[in-house]
Every structure is written in C-alpha cells, then in structure tokens.
C-alpha cells in the first residue's frame, strides 16, 4: 500500500442535508440507533453528529430533534466500539461546561468520545446567546484559541492514575495527581480542575473544521483530526502537507494529526460505487489525506455506502476489517502519539 496504512472513515449524520419533509416525520432515536449500529458493524472509525443550532437560520422542522451532546450520550449506551463525535459551539458554551460535558461523555462511552469544534460560528448563534452585536472574526479566533487551550488543559487536570479508591486508608484520590488549571486570559479565567474523572483515552479527541488560513496554526497545535472540504487532489495535498509541517514545528509528530476529507455521498455514489471508490483511492494514495468524512444525508445513502462502496474498498486493501482497539484514539491511530 502506498501509505503503508489504511484509510480512516467517518460518517456524518447531518440533518441539514436532508430534503424538506413534514415536521415529526424525521427519524426518531431508534432509527438513528440503527444507522449508528450499522456503521459500527461495518467497522467505521466514528460517527460525527451535527448540531442543528449551528446551521444557518434555524427552524422547527429539523430531521433530528436532539442536541448533539445529549444524543451522543444516548448513542454511547447502545454501541460499544464506534467513536462518537458531537459538534458543540464555542459561542454557545463556556469552556468549563463544554470540557466537562465531553469528559463525562468520554467516560459514559468508555473512551469513544470526541468534540467537533468548528472555526466558523453559525450566523445566528451570537444573536441567541446574548451577543446581539455579534462577534468579530478576529475576536472569535483569539477567543477560540483560548477556549480550546482551556478545554484541553482541563482534560489533563487529573493524571490517569489519580484515583485511588482506597476505602481503608481513606484516600479517594492522590492529591499530587490533581492539577489546577489556573488560566487567566483575555476572554476567560478558569481555575479548574474539572470535576470529572480522567479520560479512558488520555483525552477526548478534538476534531476541527471550518479552517481558514489563519486557523492552520491553531489546528496544527491542538487538533487530533482536521476535516478539510473536498478540493482538487493537489490543493488538498498542499493543505495536508502544510498542516503536517506546522505540527512538526510545534513539536508534534506528523502522525499526531489525521486529515480527513469531507466527501458528499449522494445519487452519484449510489449509481457508480466503483467510481466513488476510485475517487477516494486516488486522494488517499496521493497522500492528500488519511481518510474521509462521508456526509450521509439519508439512511439509504449509508446503506449504499456500507453495502456497495465499503466492500470495494476492502477488496482494494484500503480499509481494515473490524476494530483492533477499544477507544476512538486507538481507532484513529492516535494512541501513544505525542501530546503536549
């Protein structure tokens, strides 16, 4: 194999991409469960759960009547291997609350949780979160850098072996292994620590998207997974290589960041699964990315991807069968990669 590796695959369950339909006609939790369980049976690395408040406009007729982090918690109890990544807005949340929610999700899912942070805030978010004047782009970016730093810092507040559970000795945890954050910055001050146990996978996985040029350093320094929109092979590869170079400059191994390309799966994939597989293979073999995030507007598209494209990728030796580890970090080949 050209990369000496196999591709990582994520699917996005994205309500916005669905065609219009009457209210209450969308899939309920059991339908969503079946889709995610199908993705798990197919051995996909992770499911990305969109959050409808992040979409433009808003409106009552959403396909998925659930907020993404609560949906993730529920899905965690009906799956056992697949990674579960929820979008959560940096405008809508305080960093302490967000870090805490995902730390808890990570324990509920036994180390399969990830946070999808977008660098493009939804246009209506500020208006609904008591900032009618909006947030200027530069402010949003500086605030995001601080926000992500706090979240990742809080996730590291308890050493992996901090909890002792020593009934007889009367020590529940080792005080030396709990660390205050003591962050004081331009936008936030957060003392810490988080009141959630340490992660089963080091920290929840950070997935970033919506990057523009000035965001590349933020991603290179902090992200575990970067989602890039589909461009030409050459342009994607240039972005991919740029990210890896920057990661190296920050003292990280290039393997510590996985670049996944967003690909929309639609009628064309259903009609020509071979051609769709060719498209993925070409991008993967040219080392423009480490895998793909396939946007699945409809359940039938997921069935087609799993039933028709995935077997073709298997035949070509481009994907592995099944899971070798238990955590999302392990599925993504990130376990043991360097982290500051």
């Amino acid at each position: 194999m050209a990369n000496g590796a196999t591709m990582h695959l994520a699917v996005s369950l994205s309500p916005e991409a669905a065609p219009p339909h009457p209210p209450d006609a969308g899939p309920d939790f059991s339908l969503l469960t079946r889709s995610v369980q199908k993705a798990e049976a197919a051995g996909l690395d992770m499911v990305l759960l969109a959050d409808s408040a992040l979409a433009a406009g808003g409106g009552p007729n959403r396909q998925v009547p659930f907020e993404a982090t609560t949906l993730l918690a529920a899905l965690a109890t009906v799956t056992s291997r697949i990674g579960l990544v929820a979008a959560a807005s940096m405008v809508a949340h305080q960093p302490y609350n967000l870090a805490r929610r995902f730390a808890s999700l990570d324990i509920i899912s036994h180390g399969r949780a990830g946070w999808h942070a977008s660098m493009m805030p939804g246009p209506r978010e500020a208006a609904n979160f008591s900032r009618p004047e909006g947030i200027p782009t530069d402010d949003f970016r500086r605030r995001a850098v601080e926000f992500i730093g706090i979240v990742q810092g809080l996730w590291k507040g308890w050493d992996a072996d901090a909890l002792l559970f020593d009934k007889r000795g009367g020590r529940f945890f080792d005080p030396e292994k709990m660390h205050l954050l003591g962050h004081k910055g331009e936008y936030f001050s957060v003392r810490g620590p988080l009141n959630v146990a340490p992660s089963p996978q080091d920290t929840p996985v950070l997935v970033m998207s919506g990057l523009s040029e000035p965001d590349m350093d933020i991603a290179a320094r902090t992200a575990d997974v970067v989602l890039l929109d589909e461009l030409s092979v050459e342009r994607t590869k240039a972005l991919h290589d740029d990210l890896k170079r920057r990661a190296l400059a920050f003292g990280r191994s290039p393997g510590a960041i996985k670049v996944l390309m967003n690909v929309a799966a639609g009628a064309e994939m259903t009609a020509r699964p071979d051609t769709f597989a060719d498209r993925l293979e070409e991008r993967f073999r040219s080392r423009a990315c480490e895998g793909f995030n396939i946007d699945m507007p409809l359940k039938s598209t997921l069935d087609d991807f799993i039933g028709r494209v995935l077997p073709e990728l298997h035949r070509r030796g481009l994907v592995l069968s099944g899971y070798s580890g238990a955590t999302l970090r392990s599925h993504l080949g990130l376990a043991g990669e360097d982290r500051q």
Binding site: T77, S104, I108, F129, R191, N195
Partner: protein
C-alpha cells in the same frame, strides 16, 4: 393500592457513592460509582421498578471542596456531568422522570432550554430542570468571575433566565421569538419540536425569600431541606400561600423535602448501620463540609469540642445556613457533634429505623400537610437505596400512600401537573 386518594411523590436523589460524606468508605458502597455508567443504569432501573416519580441529580460546575487534602478524603470531586448522564439513562429506562440541576449563573437560557428539551425528546417527555443560582466561590472561579454575585443580583438574573426558558419551551416548534432583557437576548425560537409533555418540568430549591418567590412564580416542584415537622410545615404553608399572587392553585406546585433514611429490619440494626457510617467520617472532613455549607472558611481554627462561633450574614446559601445554626443552638452541639450530625445528611431530615417506622414518619409529614412527597437521599449506593426501594416503598404502597404502577408516561403525568398551554 391505588385509590382516588392523594398519594406522595418520590424522587430518587442519586449522588456519587452516597449522600453520607463517608459513604464511599462503607464496605458495601460502590466506590467506583463516579466512573461506572452501568452502576447508574442499574440505580435508575431500581428506581423505576419501585415506581419512583423521578431520579434527581444535583450539580456544581466545579469540585466541591477547595482544600485538596480534604477533597481527597471524599468521593465528591469526580462524577458524571448530569445532563450527559441523564441522556444516557433516558434511553435505558422507559417511565421514570429524569431531573438535573443546572445553574442560571453559568449558562445561557437558549442553550439550557435546548439541551433540556433534547433530553425531553430522548426520554419521551420525562425531563425536568432544577434551577439553581450557584452560591459557591469554587464554581465562580471557573467562570471568570472575580467574586460571587450578590444574592439579589443572582436572583434577578435567575428570574429573567427562567422566564426566557419557559417562553422558549412554549414557543418551540413555532416561528418568531424575541427577547431583549437586562441579562439576556434571544432572537430565534428553539430549533426542536415542542416537548412531548408540553414543557420539561421546572424545579426550584432555593429557600430564601427570593428563592421562594421565584419558586412560587415558576416552579412545578420545590425541593427543600427541613429537619423538623414544624420547619417543614412552615415552609410548605408559606410557599403554597405565595401562589395565589401569581394566579396559581396550591396543587400546581409539589413540595418535596429531602429525607435521608437508614432502614433495617430492626431499629437496633438501623442504629448500628448509622453509627458505622458516622465512625467513617474523619474530623477534618466533617468540619470542612460544615464550613463550606456555612460559607465560612476558617471553622477549623475554633476548638472542635466548643460551640459554633457567632457568624456574619453571608452571600451564600442564606436560608439553609440558618437551619443549621438554629439546630446547633437548640441541641447545644459542639462543632464536632454538629459536623458529624450534619455530614451524615447535609442538613436534610435523617430518619433511622424499620420500614414501618420510616413509613410512619413520612406519612405523618405527608398527611400533616408538610410535604407532597419526598426526595430520597440514600446514605450509600446501591445498598441503602435498594433497602428503601424494597422495604419502605412496599410499606408505603400497602398503606395506599404511593402508587403501585405508573399511570402516565411523562414526568408531568406522574406528578399530576397540568400540561402548559
């Protein structure tokens, strides 16, 4: 058996390894509760099998104790974040209500309303929000505040917050929403359909004058702490008396004091169980817990066998603090005695005895017009909760004081609350 008579409401207050501060050290306590989702699923199913109205999770956005040496001797510095916990439990249970605390000081109404509505959809109409204004300095330090907001400011923000949340829930699934207030602005309706129960249930626990007023205005359920029948009755009458001003009926709000039971087949066994737990409390932990509850940082410098010193009024939890101080004076308790006594039940009502004795106590407060039900706070999990569910609940059912099965499917139906228009 279920007749037309009024029946009590029961909440199962789930908290880490147990409500007793030393619970985690008990040989039968599940010490890894805070990292074990299956433990919570089992507790929720136990509560559901016993036909409890709801499970309830307390919350603080921070560790409970700033002194790390003290904190490390308790199990309360780590646990699940309650909304994610309840979302997981929502799809692993079918009937029981799911209530979480969340702060009006460290959230925004749009996000909170949306998250609880999502929990309501995941559970088919079983969600409730317990509004708190957050009184701890530890929490404040995680949200960029230089200090705690004064009590009155917190409540002004909370009133606006609660009104916006209620309006967002009523307006979910419609088009057009606009709120421009002193603390918050919201320009769109929620992007989720209307709640299966009309709106999630609104709960309140603040017992100060402003807290009671906010509860009378907005709450469906009020949690409270009352040691004696007299205190419980006074609170009950006061709160119900405030409802008319807001055009509400006495039955529109259910008042559920906390109760910390220790139950065993004989009274002697129950006493022994209690003493065993009390022996597990280290003195420094008990005093620290009391200090934190009284919002004073230096209780440890007073002689532990002497009386509680005179205390200045604080911006923290005003009303419950007064209860603790009153009790120490009434019973002439030393700091050590008060600390131990308080640590056991955290200022809530402690009942120790046989199933019949505990049922008698609950019945007396319920029939005496001092409670509509109780929020049950087991000393340790799962053992003490199992004991209540399998010994006390059947006794209450035999007396016709508690349901033998659910009749509705939503939390509002369990509680006998009207569906909001």
């Amino acid at each position: 058996m279920s007749t037309g008579r009024r029946q009590m409401k029961l909440g199962a207050f789930l908290w880490a390894t147990g409500h007793h501060i030393a619970a985690w050290r008990h040989p039968q306590a599940h010490v890894t509760a805070g990292i074990d989702i299956d433990h919570y699923i089992q507790l929720a199913r136990t509560a559901e099998a016993a036909k409890f109205d709801m499970i309830f999770c307390e919350d603080a956005a921070g560790v409970r104790e700033a002194n790390v040496n003290i904190a490390s001797q308790t199990s309360r510095s780590i646990g699940f974040e309650p909304i994610s916990l309840l979302a997981a439990l929502a799809v692993q249970t079918e009937r029981i209500g799911l209530v979480s605390t969340a702060s009006t000081s460290y959230n925004e109404p749009y996000g909170l309303a949306r998250t609880f509505l999502s929990l309501d959809h995941l559970s088919g109409g079983r969600a409730g929000w317990n509004l708190v204004t957050s009184a701890s300095q530890i929490e404040a330090a995680n949200f960029g505040s230089t200090g705690l907001r004064p009590h009155a400011d917190r409540y002004e923000r909370a009133r606006e917050f609660a009104a916006v949340v209620a309006a967002l829930w009523r307006g979910a699934g419609t088009s057009g929403f606009n709120h421009e207030g002193r603390s918050f602005s919201v320009r769109d309706p929620l992007d989720l359909p209307r709640s299966p129960q009309g709106a999630p249930v609104m709960i309140q626990a603040g017992a100060s004058d402003e807290g009671r007023d906010l509860a009378a205005r907005t709450a469906d359920v009020v949690f409270t702490a009352a040691q004696t029948f007299k205190e419980a009755k006074a609170f009950y009458d006061d709160l119900k008396g405030r409802l008319a001003v807001y055009g509400r009926e006495p039955d529109d709000v259910k008042i559920m004091p906390g109760v910390a039971p220790i139950v065993a087949a004989s009274e002697t066994e129950a006493r022994a169980k209690y003493d065993e737990l009390q022996e597990l409390i280290p003195d420094d932990v008990g005093v620290a817990l009391l200090s934190s509850y009284l919002s004073i940082s230096d209780l440890a410098r007073y002689p532990i066998d002497g009386p509680l010193p005179e205390l200045p009024a604080s911006e923290g939890m005003q009303s419950r603090q007064a209860l603790v101080i009153e009790q120490s004076r009434r019973d002439n308790l030393s700091i050590r005695q008060l600390a131990r006594h308080f640590a056991g039940a955290r200022g809530h009502w402690r009942v120790v005895g046989t199933p019949a004795q505990i049922a008698d106590e609950l019945e007396a407060r319920f029939e005496g017009g001092a409670a509509d039900g109780f929020n049950v706070m087991p000393s340790y999990f799962p053992g003490e909760f199992d004991a209540f569910a399998t010994l006390v609940v059947p006794e209450l059912q035999r007396r016709g004081l508690f349901r033998t099965d659910y009749r509705g499917s939503t939390l509002r139906e369990h509680l006998g609350l009207n569906r909001p228009a």
